[in-house]
Amino acid sequence: MTDVVSHVPPSAGQELVQLLTPEGLRVHRDDYDVDLSDEELRGLYRDLALARRLDVEAVALQRQGELGLWPSLLGQEAAQVGSGRAMAADDYAFPTYREHGVALTRDVDPLKLLAFYRGVTNGGWDPNEKNFAIYTIVIGNQCLHAVGYAMGVNFDHARSGEADESQAVIAYFGDGASSQGDVNEAFIWASVFNAPVVFFCQNNQWAISEPLEKQTKIPLYQRAQGFGFPGLRVDGNDVLAVLAVTKAALRRARQGAGPMLIEAYTYRMGAHTTSDDPTRYRLASELEHWKLKDPIERVRSYLFRNEKADQAFFDAIEAEAEQMAVRLRAECRALPDPDPTSIFDHVYAEQHALVDEERASMAAYLDSFVGASH
């Protein structure tokens, strides 16, 4: 293990790290900052726009009956794109069920996300190809997986004797999830094993109908203090700030300085999922307030005002997003239902008498109908 301890957040602090105001004004800081080319900045805008367009399309597909469910990321694009783009290629992310924006940055075909919520698969992509685990629905479970994976990074180092910068891991979770035993155990394990993991909490203010104060009396980033590692709150609607702090936290983890908690302060602008009706439990005015902090609008203003992008650029992105949506719509509709006997295919890696028997019996049963209709 290396003893280089880089950049511990100075604040672990009271303030919200912000690099781009809601109005699109660039703020510079000594502790966290980014130095991006115009092209990189435009790339972030593109990510944000595609994430939102994907989301809009998915909600529409659900309304049309093409998906069973969709948890919208509306409002959380910056938190997801910023953190996703902070990762190095071989860093590994453990998402919840809402990390569509992160998925895009990991180059997961969004069709796979739609396939999951359409109900044709419970997974969809190869986690070890994209270094992006499958979605986790059971709140909090993935945080322990992330820590285990990160412990493995350390164990591999111990074996190989290497101590260079290497992989880091991000565990995504929500404000509600912070109450689960698993998440708090993950904090303990990460600390005790000095695991190279960044806990990335998207505090979108709500856990379905429950506001933050049902989960905690103090700001969530302060939870980390109780476990002996730094915690920090970032403006989750500011893609630059999220990128900066997540990069720093990942670098720190890679260098052997252990875990860190990032609370991305953001807002779930839509319903919890397409099944939810937020008018039952929150005021419309809250949404209006957060609309002023829109994560995409501020990047657009910034780019435009500083002549880092022109209208043609924005038009092109819009066209690209539209194209993506059209493709996704068509491909999603065309996704075939799984073959019924496929449910037996991957339960076990090796031969299993009962599964074989049940597969055969289902096949015979289904065949009997084929026969009947002849």
Binding site: G68, F116, S209, D339, P340, V347, E358, Y365
Partner: protein
Amino acid sequence: MADKVTLAKALNMALRKVLEDDPKTLLMGEDIGKLGGVFRVTDGLQKDFGEHRVVDTPLAESGIIGTAVGLAIRGFRPIAEIQFDGFVYPAFDQIVSQLAKMRARSGGRVPMPVVVRIPFGGGIGAVEHHSESPEAYFAHTAGLRVVSPSNPVDAYWMLQQAVQSNDPVIFFEPKRRYWDKAELDVTATPGPLFESRVVRPGQHCTLAAYGPMVKTCLEAATAAAEDGTEIEVIDLRTISPLDVDTLCASVERTGRLVVVHEASVFLGVGAEVAARVTERCFYSLESPVIRVGGYHTPYPPSRVEEEYLPDLDRVLDGVDRALAY
């Protein structure tokens, strides 16, 4: 005149009744307050009974059951909601080690009048972990009682009876039947909670089920009747304890038993029904007990759940297999 109400509404009425009748009852769970629960079973109750009787909790199922145990020690009668079947597992330790055992461990001094409401089962097109049928885990656990209503009328009475019980009751609500309607006469007198019920008489074969599968079995019986097969349908209602007397009385008449549930057949409740009825009615059975249920796989993606779940045809296939002996 009795009104028609949905199963969800019947549960809501039952909860309202117990909150009114007994100041020691309280509801606790995720999103049960303003939202009224994701299925609206607790709709309007927090408004009327306050945040101390209808408690929105942190997102932690072990916490829900663990604090319910503590509240019960203090003399409360907590009614906990687990939002979906697949989310009861974080609470498994508190249920198995504490809720189920507390009374016995304390020599009977500390009863655990706690109800754990769990919407269960599939068929609603949900995403993974939202369609599980974990009842066998609880039925195998001594100290718990496990019941499941199949219709709005039972839902109304059984939930109240579960709350009145001084034992912990795991109350499985058939989520895909939440919107089924029936006439509910709230002035009626319900039968005992821990008894099964013959819901359709028949002489050729007995069909036993609980919760969501009762309706499927009744439909199967109707279909079979057209072909001249008279199926007796038993709504088990209680899973633990099992009402073996009612089952055996039927099997002694019909000589055949098919037991149906959504849960995996392997070590599902049907295994116990089969083993116990066979032991008790060995000479009456003209065929082995046939089990129709889910497969030994995780609950599949929703686009293929219809093939996973027992339906009318698979139930009748089971009946045919029994009759073939």
